[in-house]
Symmetry: C2
Subunit: 505 residues, 2 copies
């Protein structure tokens, strides 16, 4: 007797998972190890594997097996039903887009990325503009086809790729709540900050020692260095599949904290993936539940837990150990003030958690207008600058620090930006429940014990994989539907913290 | 009008080439970067890509296209005809072996390799024996099927995988010529050596500085570090495809030369691959012409040219620069004596070029007997030790320094060992022609100029790819058919060198 349709699908997706792992390694290597003149060759390798991946997902055999498995679903366990749903989801996304658009996007984004780098080098948006136009036009076609296939608006169809089930309506409700409170909160926070002394922290911090510090903290968090690595790259990222998770960061010899926090942000992603259910590891249901949840895991670690007084208490002796630093500027309260300093700035990736959502809202608005045709690519820099002035009260002196700062649009990632704010909002809501369930959390973190933290995350988030929707997961973990309420409460408590004001008084 | 069958094949093999590159990276990473507990996962990834590769080569569509292209071959250029022949060769090898044997071998060799490591750890051949038996049995089936398909004897069919067109008869003619001269030459050389003073060379040489030295010499040789890397691994190797060639070596803090010469050996392989014709780079005809020629390129560099007086003349100031060494033991003649020291030793990879062929002949004899069934796996250690005593006059004190030293049989590489001696023989014959055509070779090498050397190799070897057979290539490059005559002449000149004896007298 041959295997059931469902079991055959499991076998097919197991193979697909191996391809995913190989593709992830090709990307990791390209960013960390690859000689610089080998990019074209690597592009051909990635394209070949991605084409195979796509052909596999869209093969008539998969559709037939999915239909037959669906018709014979009785007797399947809950997780297998969820797996079937995720398999179909992947197939639906893949089959909606014709190969011509996919290969067109591969080529257009390769050109656009190269010209984006050129445009940054010369500070000239014009160099990038025609290539971005080409990408926008293809993404528009893609969004339209995907929307028809998934019965979603074109933009929501793009969002659905990154954060399954999330809609513009939910994103806008979230943004609305944040817009109501953040501008005033930023003003109040900056006023409080200005009234407190802040001692400058400076020095030269050798990358090798920064690496050693990051490894020590990651080890304390339980990052398994026998099934993962920490390396350096131009921008921090996480690649790999559970069983071999690789994180990177970027060490700045003048800034002790940026490399460490970059590594810990990525450790949040890595721990999520490492905590996914082992028995489903090579199946769609064993994957993460979208970019919003991914980002929640990195932001919970980096922003909420590592930019906190208990973490600074744990960190201070390590700074002394690794760098021999001491003096008043290295006192806990001053280090904490540095890690939570708020300012209106130009660059998204350097932004604090209060101003960060404003950067995203601008991008969200602009990318929707680009796709709908309301905004022409040539008018993008002016719209960007006006948006920055309106939202943050500052104007970029040039496009490199403005519209040219992010790679996302060049590589065709429209609909991705909202995940960042979604992540912050999810993180804050999870954080409230985590504190309720683990009252000793601060005490543990203060002496470098992260075990209760990750035990809680594993139970409530990681171990579920993609079995339930993000909204179901939030309801189960926190008892409430997803909303920005907890985030607003969290930032108000943190940034209007009377203890800090009085401690510094 | 659709593309011709031949052009369609070119497209298909281009895709296959991208898979080859990806697979090569998966292997490189496993040996150089991969966290140690990720081996199983990597095994799944490699198996998935290899299965795809095999399925692709054996698809009915490829056979159909090959037949149609063959029937419409008029109008194809010479290199395209050769390409068609190489395509068919790859397909013939792939289709001869059923998937059941291939996957059986993947599993059996994975187990055998792990148990080989265990057996080495505990010094117990018995741990390895049952797994080697399983591998031998599967390789025997494979050889038999491959032999039938290719109309070769089973052993020759295995050899054909590594060195296309080479036969046992040619191997044995070569071995016979070497057997006639080497044992006496080893005796004479050792007697000469014993009559000369040899100052001990010792010290601690930091791996980072050894790496810097290797990079400097490789750069002088023209290794393109923007399209390649040098890293460390347990055993030196070369991976990659032209456009991204990666070599590794192993640095021993107590031995300045082993890491450097390992790196230069691999540089020989890398330069061969980097010199392959760019316009055929993603086609079968654009690949190297088998392991014998591969090994000739590494041995010509490492053994013939870098273990020479002109190279030592170039190297000495670099040793002083990188390690600050000086003194009589660092004089050129003493360094040269170290690099060309001959001794009867137990370990193949540490052997000099005079004793090396004897190590290979033993393995050749034993592997043929294992496959034919004349020799049982359980009797292998005794046969090994007897063979060592007979050929080299020394007996391994244990199996780790005896039959367990090489990984080849554990991973199913039967028929590979002769390539090493073939490589040495080819290298010596090429070397004679190289000297004839480039009379200034020694003078150039003595001041670190390797340009004429690689120009000659590119013209006569590298640029031909797999367009002609190895035998045709040798005839064209040297004017003579392949034979061991030049090798014997070379080692006699080098090791019975009166200049060295008198200089030391």
């Amino acid at each position: 007797m041959s295997a059931s349709p469902y079991k055959q699908l499991e076998q097919e997706f197991k193979r697909l998972h191996a391809f995913r792992g190989a593709l992830s390694l090709l990307r990791w290597d390209a960013a960390v190890m690859m000689p610089r003149a080998s990019a074209d060759l690597r592009g051909e390798q990635r394209a070949a594997l991605e084409t195979e991946y796509h052909a596999f997902l869209t093969a008539p055999r998969i559709t037939r097996l999915l239909d037959r498995a669906q018709a014979n679903a009785q007797g399947l366990a809950d997780w297998q039903l969820a797996n079937l749903r995720e398999m179909r989801r992947q197939r639906d996304h893949a089959i909606a887009i014709p190969v011509s658009i996919i290969s067109g996007l591969v080529k257009a984004t390769a050109r656009a990325e190269a010209q984006w780098l050129e445009a940054r080098k010369h500070g000239k948006f014009d160099i990038f503009a025609p290539h971005l136009e080409e990408v926008v036009s293809l993404v528009r076609d893609k969004a339209s086809l995907l929307g028809q296939a998934l019965n979603l608006t074109p933009y929501d169809a793009l969002v659905d790729e990154f954060s399954p089930g999330l809609t513009s309506a939910e994103i806008e409700a979230m943004f609305k709540a944040l817009s109501r409170r953040l501008p005033a909160l930023i003003r109040e926070t900056i006023a409080l900050q200005d009234a407190r002394p802040l001692l400058a922290i400076s020095g030269k911090f050798a990358p090798a020692q920064q690496h050693a510090l990051a490894v020590e903290v990651m080890t304390a968090m339980g990052f398994p260095f026998d099934r993962g690595r920490l390396d350096e790259s131009d921008h921090p990222f996480t690649e790999g599949v559970p069983g071999d998770m690789r994180v990177t960061t970027r060490f700045d010899a003048n800034d002790l904290f940026s490399g460490l926090l970059g590594a810990l942000h990525e450790t949040g992603h890595a721990m999520y993936n490492l905590g996914l259910p082992h028995e489903w590891r090579d199946q769609p249901v064993g994957r993460d539940r979208g970019m919003g949840l991914e980002e929640s895991q990195s932001l919970l670690i980096e922003m909420i837990l590592c930019r906190s007084r208990p973490f600074v208490h744990y960190l201070r002796p390590l700074l002394e150990k690794h760098f021999g630093v001491s003096g008043p500027e290295w006192e806990e309260e001053n280090v904490y003030a540095h890690l939570t300093h708020v300012r209106r700035s130009l660059i998204r990736v350097d932004a604090d958690e209060l101003t960060y959502p404003l950067h995203i809202m601008l991008r969200y608005e602009l990318e929707k207008q680009l796709l709908s045709g309301e905004l022409a690519v040539r008018d993008l820099p002016a719209a960007w600058n006006a948006g920055m002035e309106q939202r943050l009260g500052i104007k970029p002196p040039n496009d490199v620090q403005g519209v040219l700062q992010d790679i996302h649009w060049a590589v065709g990632s429209f609909g991705y930006f909202p995940s960042y704010v979604l992540g912050a909002v999810i993180a804050a809501q999870l954080h409230e429940s985590l504190r309720r369930d683990v009252p000793q959390l601060d005490a543990e973190i203060a002496h470098g014990d992260f075990s209760s933290l990750f035990a809680w995350l594993r139970t409530h988030i990681h171990a579920l994989g993609a079995k339930v929707t993000m909204q179901e997961l939030m309801k189960a973990a926190t008892g409430k539907p997803l909303s920005a309420v907890a985030f607003v409460r969290y930032v108000e408590n943190k940034y209007l913290d009377s203890a800090a004001s009085s401690a510094a008084a």
